[in-house]
Symmetry: C2
C-alpha cells in the first residue's frame, strides 16, 4: 500500500469535521459532473444547511483557498477532498463474518470508489468457507492469523453476530490488524492504538423511532 501521500497530508481532525467533509465532497462531485467551475461557501451552505463559517473552517484544513467573490474551484475541491479523506488511496481490508451485511459489503463495489478494497472474508460456517463472494475468497476464521502474516492487511470489518464481536476483534488485533470497522452494536474493547469506527445502524434506528414520536410526546408534555 502506498500511504505516502496520505501521511504527508494528514492531520487529526475533529470527528464532526470528518463527518461533514464527505457531504461537501458528494455535493461538489455533483457540481463537477454538471461542469460547474466555482462554488462559494455560501452556496455550499445553502445547499447543505451547514453554516458558511463552519464550511470555511472545515475546508481550512485542506490545501485549498477560496477566491474572494468567486469561491473555490470545483475540480480542485473534489481532488483535495478525495485526497484528504483518503478516498483516492488504496486500503486493503478483510471482512470477518460473511452473513448478509458482510456479503453486501463484499459485493458493494461502491466502496472501491472510497479507497476500500476488500481482499478476503473470514467465517466459521463450513458452507461458505472456500467459496467466493463478489470475487472475494472466504476462508476459515482459524486461518486468519496465518493469512494475515502473509498479507499484512490493516483494516478488519466486523460483521459477526453481536455475541462474537469482542472475540472477533481480539483475534483481528492479535493477528496484527490496527483498525476495526465495527458494524455490531457491541462496544468493543481494544488497546488505545487500535482505531475503532462504530457504524451502529441499530442506534440510528433508535434515533429514527425516538424522533418520529416527537410530536406525540410534545403534545403530551405541552
Amino acid at each position: 500500500m502506498n500511504m505516502t501521500r496520505i501521511s504527508e497530508n494528514r492531520t487529526i481532525l475533529p470527528e464532526p469535521t470528518i463527518r461533514r467533509l464527505p457531504w461537501y465532497l458528494s455535493y461538489v462531485r455533483m457540481l463537477d459532473n454538471q461542469h460547474v467551475e466555482y462554488v462559494s461557501s455560501t452556496q455550499i451552505s445553502k445547499e447543505l444547511n451547514v453554516q458558511s463559517s463552519q464550511i470555511a473552517k472545515d475546508l481550512s484544513f485542506l490545501n485549498i483557498r477560496g477566491k474572494t467573490r468567486i469561491g473555490y474551484e470545483v475540480r480542485s475541491l473534489v481532488t483535495e477532498l478525495e485526497d484528504f479523506l483518503g478516498f483516492n488511496s488504496h486500503h486493503d481490508a478483510v471482512v470477518i463474518g460473511t452473513g448478509s451485511l458482510g456479503t453486501a459489503l463484499m459485493q458493494d463495489h461502491g466502496l472501491e470508489n472510497y479507497g476500500l478494497n476488500i481482499v478476503a472474508g473470514f467465517d466459521v460456517r463450513s458452507d461458505v468457507i472456500g467459496q467466493c463472494v463478489g470475487g472475494v475468497p472466504v476462508y476459515a476464521i482459524d486461518e486468519l492469523a496465518a493469512w494475515q502474516r502473509q498479507h499484512g492487511v490493516s483494516i478488519a470489518i466486523l460483521t459477526v453476530p453481536v455475541e462474537n464481536a469482542q472475540e472477533a476483534a481480539d483475534l483481528a488485533i492479535a493477528s496484527g490488524m490496527t483498525a476495526l470497522w465495527n458494524f455490531t452494536p457491541y462496544r468493543i474493547k481494544a488497546p488505545e492504538d487500535v482505531v475503532i469506527a462504530n457504524t451502529s445502524i441499530y442506534a440510528h434506528l433508535a434515533i429514527i423511532y425516538n424522533r418520529m414520536h416527537k410530536t406525540s410526546v410534545e403534545t403530551k408534555n405541552g
Copy 2:
C-alpha cells in the same frame, strides 16, 4: 402499527445518549443469556468504557431504578431498554434503491429484532421490478405514491446512488413518508418535521483512514 406504548414512554433524548443505549442493551442482553441477575453501573462502565456517572444519567431516562450495592436487575433492564428504544415495537419501512446495500438490508432479518419490518422495495431497474428479495416484493419507483396511499408506511430507507438521493427523498416525502434513513453520503434537504437519520458509512471510512495515520503524523509533527 401500534405505537401507543412508544408514545407513552417516549421523551426526546440527546443523540449521544441514544447512541450509547444500544451498547448497554447488547451488553445486558449478553448477561441475560448468561443468567446473570444484577449489574451495576460500575460494572457496565468497566465493560463498555463509559463513565459510570454517564451511565447512571443515561439510564435515568428509563423507568428503572438501580438498587444500592446490587445494581440494576438485568432482565428488567433488557426489557426497559428494548421498549424505550422502540426495538420491541413494529415499524414498517420501504427500501428505495435495491442495489447491493438495499438488498442486504431487505435480507437482513437481524433488523426485525430491532423492530424494523421492510415490507417493500422500489427501484427503476426493469430486471428487479416484480421480483422478490428476501421475501420482499420490489416495485417500480413510479408506483411509490400510489402504493403508499394504500399502505401508509412512515419510514423510507434510501439506498439509491448518491446522485439520486435528493430526488428519492423528495418522492418519499411527497408520498407522505415522515422518516428517512439515508445511507447515501448526500446531505438531504427536507422540511423540518421530517426525521432524517444519516448512516454515512463513507464518513466512517474517512475517520478510519484519518485515525490510522495518526502515528505517522504525530512523528512528523513531534
